[in-house]
Amino acid sequence: MNKANTIAPASTGGEVKVSIRNLYKIFGDNPQAHIDNVRNGMGKTELLEKHAHVLGLQDINVDIPARKLQVIMGLSGSGKSTLIRHINRLIDPTAGEVIVDGENVLEFDQKRLMDFRRHKTSMVFQRFGLFPHRTVEENVAYGLTVQGINKKKATEASRRWTEKVGLAGYEDSYPNQLSGGMQQRVGLARALATDAEILLMDEAFSALDPLIRTDMQNLLLELQTDLNKTIIFITHDLDEALKLADRLVILKDGAVIQQGEPQHILLHPNDPYIEDFVADINRARVLRVRSVMEPLEGPATAEQAAQIEAKDHLIDHDDTLEEVIARSRGEVDRDYLVLKNGQLVGNLHMEDVVRALVPRIPENEDDEEVKKTEAA
């Protein structure tokens, strides 16, 4: 749970691993014929009704930072699974670019592409995609076998990763002898065993029971603290997205409607669709101090220094609001000093904490609320 959620917003830079530029995907008999219409603003419904083509993705621009966990979220039909398959070209786009480490993946020939898939990316699937005729050990070693690595090394790596995902002792089982959660651990181990820098996870935990899903999320976060891979994680579940994401992209009808730091999206949703999404979230558990504090510049004043010295009303920038509220014991008029690695970075007003707990309510609904109260 305690994840170092320290990424800066994308706009401030940091190394970009995967860059998706002006990406369009149209499904149908002759997609190229309609790309100009779509570029000129023809919508999904119109394209379907007039030309019987389905608009999968429209004008996607996303920069995915290196060694971070990028979540792409959307409901079913939003194009998220289509989007992730463009990164390793399981699907070819109608127009646009996918640039990985400065190279356009779409310009790769078959051989180059195969090489790219073997060494640069690996993938975890919603329904696991395990090979039913291979044992756990052979499944985990699959990526290495395909690379042509000798059997001894592959087996060794396979055993190591099987143990890391907590399946030691199951090496000789077949996938259908395992439960869903265990099968997806095999899927994860198989993806990690090739040491690829980019890990693509397509609704990897969506098919699992809630408790097992939480286990798997924790396992992923735990592994990520050591591995620091560039993870691209697809989900339709906002709780999962907020728990995992360093950075979040929200898709709707094949278009990006908002992207950035999850905390920022939660506090400043720019679309009614996202507002609906975030309305049901337990905000106290998700929001962190740094998102609602008043940042302080410059060195601490003497008074603040004394307060820090006395360890009086101090709080960490990465604590959740829930933790702050628990610690305040109902005091709402106090301020806290916010520390990051022992340094003073901000001032937290309890008033702001309370305000942040309520989602932004649209104006007109607000009026109705008032009227109802008056009538009562």
Binding site: R118, G129, L130, H133, G143, N176, Q177, S179
Partner: protein, 296 residues
């Protein structure tokens, strides 16, 4: 009025000329290439003769032991082995041993040929929709055209004997092999295949590492069907000189020998059942990972 009463035909003399020219053309073809084709099939004939002699000339206890061992290897069932031995003992006791061995030889060779051709054809059909569309009607013709019709050109080309008989059997028995291989590969779970692609597997790695292993139960159903159909062709093949259990059946039909027909017919049935059970169990056993039950 005459136009409506009778279907307009192309005219008796024209039709006769057409048939004549086809017959003439084919006769010409068989005169030119018949010998070449016969030479081409010569190794096959030698192999078939050698295999048949091996089965007939080897002392019967050894052959029976080898058959029992094969059944055990395929089915891993004591009941099956005992049933097989009893069947063959009865067959031998009723003086059908040599004919049974001849039939066994031609069915085995026909099955091997059908697998050798049908498997790659099925694989290509699964790979290319165009190839599938082109080959499917050919398979339909092979399966439904009355065998006597294609016996005519085969006999014209190669005369009477074992090889034309073998070809006739193969034409009939090959389609299920190709069809079921194609079907099996196409039915492989798309997500499993996508996973292989995502890890950078090439066509060969996907075919031999994922598609064929997962299609094996269906492919084995194809092998099973091929064996059954080859056996069912034995009587017809005996018409053009293939030795085996079909010959006495044919004699029984023309002379109304009920007992002879019945005994040899039942021997064919016994062979069919043994082949069927053993190949099915073998196919199932190769898929052990499916049977051990899901989840704990």
């Amino acid at each position: 009025m005459e136009f409506l009463d009778e279907f307009p035909t192309m005219g008796r003399s024209d039709l006769r000329d057409l048939k004549k020219s086809i017959d003439g053309g084919f006769r010409e073809f068989s005169r030119t290439y018949g010998e070449g084709l016969e030479n081409f099939f010569d190794p096959l004939l030698h192999f078939l003769v050698w295999f048949e002699r091996l089965l007939v000339n080897t002392p019967w206890p050894i052959v029976l032991g080898a058959i029992a061992a094969l059944v055990w290897f395929g089915a891993r069932s004591v009941t099956m082995v005992i049933a097989t031995i009893v069947c063959f003992m009865v067959i031998g006791y009723l003086d059908m041993w040599e004919d049974t061995m001849a039939t066994l030889a031609i069915v085995s060779v026909a099955t091997i040929i059908c697998i050798a051709i049908g498997l790659p054809v099925g694989i290509l059909m699964a790979r290319s929709n165009k190839f599938q569309a082109a080959i499917t009607p050919v398979l339909d013709v092979m399966q439904t055209i009355p065998s006597f019709v294609y016996l005519i050109p085969v006999v014209m080309l190669l005369g009477i004997g074992k090889v034309p008989g073998l070809i006739a059997v193969c034409i009939y028995a090959l389609p299920p092999m190709a069809r079921l291989t194609n079907l099996g590969i196409r039915l492989v779970d798309k997500e499993v295949l996508e996973a292989a692609t995502a890890f950078g597997a090439d066509y060969k790695q996907k075919l031999f590492g994922v598609q064929i292993p997962l299609a094996l139960p269906t492919i084995f159903a194809g092998v099973n069907q091929t064996i059954m159909m080859a056996l069912s062709m034995v009587v017809i093949a005996s018409l053009i000189g293939v030795a085996g259990l079909g010959v006495p059946v044919l004699r029984a039909v023309s002379n109304q020998y009920l007992a002879l027909g019945l005994m040899n017919g039942l021997a064919i049935v016994a062979l069919a059942i043994i082949f069927d059970r053993v190949s099915q169990r073998f196919g199932r056993r190769m898929q052990s990972h499916r049977e051990e039950g899901a989840g704990h």
